[in-house]
């Protein structure tokens, strides 16, 4: 029979159903196991942590397919900062638990993070998040913050900001009486936000003391954007700019903010960023995309070409350049660039849509139809994911 259980171990609170356990031992073993499990639970409830760990370890040796036992053992080890052993326990949990594996991936990811196995940590956390996280807000916050940190570390700051925004909103929802205060008091979240917004490829623990204050200030601004208090965010930005306007990433970050508030002023911020960080690809992409709206196509073309030289594998640059060629009537060149963007990012609905538009301009209706179908397919997937 499936038994619901709820664990509060340290700050990792999860509710889930245990796997069915089929008696496979001799009666004596079973009696022994049941006694052991009861003693382990009693020890845990009494907060006799070392004893609880010893008993759960013994019980899981006796019954290796006891997923519930692996879970408790893993969380106790995690809270005791015995991460190597916790990793082993969660690995066993995932091998034995068939129904509710997401919490296991979450804890394994957090454990790998502590062990500095960042690629493995990210893979595990992403597997937890894939079906959509359904846990208590604090646990969800932990998963999302670590996931965001790692995504930024591996060079995808926009995606990291999405995850961290979800984390901020989990916190805000958990404290409706003072959401902003709680978000702004979460320094780990603020630092993660700051790193992602400044497009740094580092982790909060690796920040040197000179950079910490800047990152924290940037994080405050970004956290306020996340909870949609853009008036307060503007004030934080002014402080950030007063102190750190000559630091790399600050003007870019402000430019992105301006895109949502005063888009006509954003280009100025991106240009200032390029003065400070001449090889800033993202600023060039923003300027190229912005030129599509202002009609300054030749300027945009220059920025797009520079961005491609710096980062030829970035599909967004090829989309921007393709669209610019299209506006300038150079349809064949547009199609070349947009085909490249689709090749680099076949899962991007935006790239397929842009290519479809270009094929239509060129009267290549059959190819346009094919791209349209792919766009629709990918858009449906993307919309479904966004609804989660």
């Amino acid at each position: 029979m499936a038994v619901p259980f709820f664990l509060i171990s340290g700050h990792h609170a999860i509710a889930f159903q245990s796997a069915d356990t089929t008696p496979s031992r001799k009666t004596a073993d079973r009696e022994s196991f049941e006694k052991l499990a009861a003693r382990a639970q009693n020890a845990m409830n009494a907060e006799q942590i070392p004893e609880a760990i010893r008993l759960y370890a013994q019980a899981t040796r006796l019954k290796p397919n006891w997923s519930e036992g692996w879970w408790f053992l893993g969380t106790l080890l995690f809270d005791a900062e015995r991460f190597k052993e916790a990793q082993n326990a969660f690995t066993h949990f995932l091998a034995t638990e068939q129904k509710q594996r997401e919490p296991g991936f979450a804890m394994l990811g957090l454990t790998e993070f502590e062990l500095k196995h960042y690629e493995k940590a990210l893979a595990a956390l992403e597997r937890c998040l894939k079906p959509g996280i359904q846990a208590d807000p604090q646990f969800a916050r932990n998963v999302l913050v670590h996931d965001g940190m790692l995504i930024a570390f591996f060079g995808k700051p926009e995606l990291a900001l999405q995850r961290l925004t979800l984390a901020a909103n989990q916190i805000a929802a958990a404290y409706p009486e003072a959401p902003k205060d709680h978000v702004l008091s979460d320094n780990e979240l603020l630092d993660a936000f700051g790193i992602a917004a400044l497009r740094m490829r580092t982790l909060p623990s690796d920040l040197n003391s000179g950079k910490k204050a800047e990152v924290r200030q940037a994080g405050r601004a970004q956290a306020l954007i996340a909870i949609q208090d853009r008036v307060a965010a503007e004030i934080e930005f002014q402080q950030l700019l007063t102190q750190y306007a000559s630091e790399s990433g600050v003007n870019y970050m402000y430019g992105v903010f301006l895109l949502k508030e005063h888009p006509s002023q954003a280009a100025g911020a991106f240009r200032r960023e390029l003065e400070i960080s001449p090889s800033h690809v993202a600023a060039r992409i923003q300027l190229a995309l912005g030129s599509l709206e202002t009609g300054e196509y030749e300027d945009g073309m220059a920025f797009a070409k520079q961005a491609i030289d710096l980062e030829p594998s970035n599909f967004v640059v090829h989309v921007a350049l393709g669209k610019l060629y299209l506006e300038l009537g150079k349809t064949d060149l547009a199609i070349q660039e947009l085909q490249m963007s689709v090749k680099l990012s076949p899962g991007s609905p935006d790239a397929h849509f842009a290519l479809e538009r270009a094929f239509l301009r060129a009267n290549r209706k059959a190819e346009a139809k094919r791209e349209r179908a792919e766009f629709e397919r990918l858009k449906a997937l993307s919309d479904a994911a966004n609804r989660q």
């Binding site: 959401p179 909870i227 208090d229 853009r230 008036v231 307060a232 935006d350 849509f353 629709e376």
Partner: protein
């Protein structure tokens, strides 16, 4: 052919223009003057804003220009909300209002005599002569029951909704929230049919809680509501209608319909339907010879903005903007989206020219609602108008944006390019407010297209066009015989002495929830004669008129 034509050039005296020239500035640019205070139009749109942030509270928009007494002058009908949660007009402050045009710049409230006060939480209005008696009738789209009012020819209307069977566009057993409607003779049988754009599933005081700034309850994003199908009613010709949404394919596609506009984009003689959807792909229903519709917005390029995103489609216009004879599409959206402009290329493909036309740049920071297309300076090029205002009444508390915005005029510079000239159009156009409704028409038969706008929980305004550049114009009042009496769907082409042509359609459906002046109007610049006018009637009849004098309304009867 000429003998077949009944062309009554009504003298300038009959349509006596009341010239109001701006005193301080005789600039030849487009200028508007607010005449509300002396007009007698005193109307406040009451949406009953509540802490629950019911979605309809931010959306009431409807305005109709209707010459209900056939005196040759457009009267003004304004839509209103109701109390919440009852959704009933519990007091007169919620009445819809009809203002009779006294032809002297003033209006008289005739609502109660006309019987048009309404009863529910209303949204949009559509004018059409559904019974072909020569008197315009009125349909009101509503969150609650929709209404069809038949014109009794004596200044009163009869509520014929129940007999007509058009009060309850229904989905899954529930009356849908209808946001807008329009009259169209989709099967060219000479009887006006009715298209209703429905918005989303909604129940009073059951909106999700959406917080902005992490703390303030705000109107939710449309994604939190389920979409609905549109409704098409076919006119049986006996005062009743039949819902043909399913058999024609209209109800196959779901959306959050706001703007409705009609035109024949492929020139096959049948009116097509464009619906601007709020944060869902737009819909273009291609009319399959009056038998059915296929939805082709994505195929032809008008479903999404240039970057493949569904924007907050609101008001819509479907008219030829570059004088190539092919109707283009322009619709509004909210800030950061730009207002997409789709140029009809002529081979069932529309090209997004929002950026290239100069529309993207000024509209990027605008939050648009109703819109309209008209040649405000009579230079032969149709200009753009948009009524603006942020969706969120508390936006300023968590953003540097403002709830109130000024309206905007984008002047057509030719070759499908536009420039925002709002700041040059006079001080009255600079007044910021949470505008919603907006409609265009020549209220004083002056040959200059005026604008009426509504303000959410504020006073409606009449913006009189006082442009004084001496340009000439021509306008037409069509009367169908085989075709529907109002000539809705008729295509009008004029050619001036220089061989250039302009095109327009007879349609009252424009903007968001609005019903505009049905009379095609053309600016002629220096030309005082129109060499040729060609009318393509919905019946298929083609009619040619020659050498018509400018600066007049011409009544054209279908031969």
């Amino acid at each position: 052919m000429i003998r077949c034509l009944l062309v009554l050039a009504l003298s300038a005296l009959l349509f006596a223009p009341i010239l109001v020239v701006a005193q301080a500035d005789r600039s030849d640019g487009i200028r508007f003057e607010d005449i509300t205070s002396k007009s007698g139009v005193d109307f406040v749109t009451n949406s009953s804003p509540t802490p629950n942030k019911n979605q309809p509270e931010t959306m009431i928009s409807g305005i109709a220009l209707i010459d209900y007494d056939n005196d040759g002058y457009l009267d003004i009908f304004l839509i209103n909300g109701a109390a919440i949660p009852s959704l009933r007009k519990e007091s007169s402050k919620y009445y819809n209002r009809l203002f009779h045009n006294n032809r002297d710049g003033t209006f008289t409230d005739v609502t109660e005599k006309a019987g048009l006060a309404g009863d529910g939480y209303e949204m949009g209005a559509a004018v059409g002569d559904f019974d072909n008696d020569g008197w315009p009738d009125l349909y009101v789209a509503s969150v609650t029951k929709n209404h069809l009012y038949r014109n009794n020819h004596d200044g009163t209307f009869a509520d014929v909704t129940d007999k007509a069977g058009v009060g309850f566009p229904t989905f899954q057993g529930k009356k849908m929230w209808s946001a807008a409607a329009g009259w169209i003779d989709f099967d060219n049988d000479g009887k006006l049919d009715l298209f209703v754009a429905n918005y989303c599933k909604w129940e009073v005081n059951k909106d999700p809680i959406c917080l902005s700034g992490g703390r303030l309850r705000a109107y939710c994003h449309p994604k939190f509501y389920e979409p609905l199908p549109s409704t098409l009613y076919r006119n049986n010709g006996d005062g009743t209608f039949i819902d043909v949404s399913e058999q024609t394919g209209i109800s196959k596609k779901f959306g959050k319909g706001m703007g409705v506009a009609f035109n024949d984009f492929d020139g096959d003689g049948f009116m097509d339907i464009f619906v601007a959807n709020d944060n869902m792909p737009n819909m273009l229903f291609h009319n399959l010879k009056g038998k059915a519709f296929e939805e082709i917005a994505l195929d032809v390029g008008v479903a999404y903005s240039e970057n493949g995103k569904a924007v907050s489609g609101m008001g819509a216009e479907f008219r030829d903007l570059d004088n190539d004879g092919l109707p283009d599409i322009w619709h509004t959206a909210t800030e950061l989206e730009t207002f997409p402009l789709f140029r009809n290329r002529g081979d069932s493909i529309f090209i997004d020219v929002t950026a290239r036309s100069g529309v993207a740049r000024p509209t990027l920071e605008m939050s648009g609602w109703s819109n309209g297309v008209a040649d405000f300076d009579n230079d032969g090029l149709k200009d753009l108008f948009v009524a603006r205002g942020n969706v969120l009444d508390n936006i300023a508390e968590f953003s540097t944006r403002t709830y109130a915005e000024p309206n905007s005029i984008l002047r057509n510079l030719g070759k499908m390019t536009f420039a925002d000239i709002t700041t040059q159009t006079g001080p009255d156009m600079q007044v910021a407010a949470p505008y919603r409704g907006g409609v265009i028409g020549d209220l004083f038969n002056s040959g200059r297209m005026d604008i009426v706008v509504t303000v959410l929980n504020g006073k409606a305004r009449i913006l009189r066009n006082v442009t004084s550049n001496g340009n000439n114009w021509i306008a037409f009042q069509l009367e169908g015989t085989k075709s529907n009496r109002m000539g809705i769907g008729a295509q009008v082409k004029i050619t001036t002495e220089d061989g250039n042509s302009q095109y327009d359609i007879v349609s009252t459906s424009a903007g968001f929830a609005a019903s505009r002046d049905p009379r095609p109007h053309f600016g002629l610049g220096k030309f005082k004669i129109v060499k040729q006018v060609e009318v393509r009637w919905p019946s298929g009849t083609r009619q040619l008129l020659k050498d018509l004098p400018a600066n007049q309304f011409h009544r054209v009867v279908e031969p």
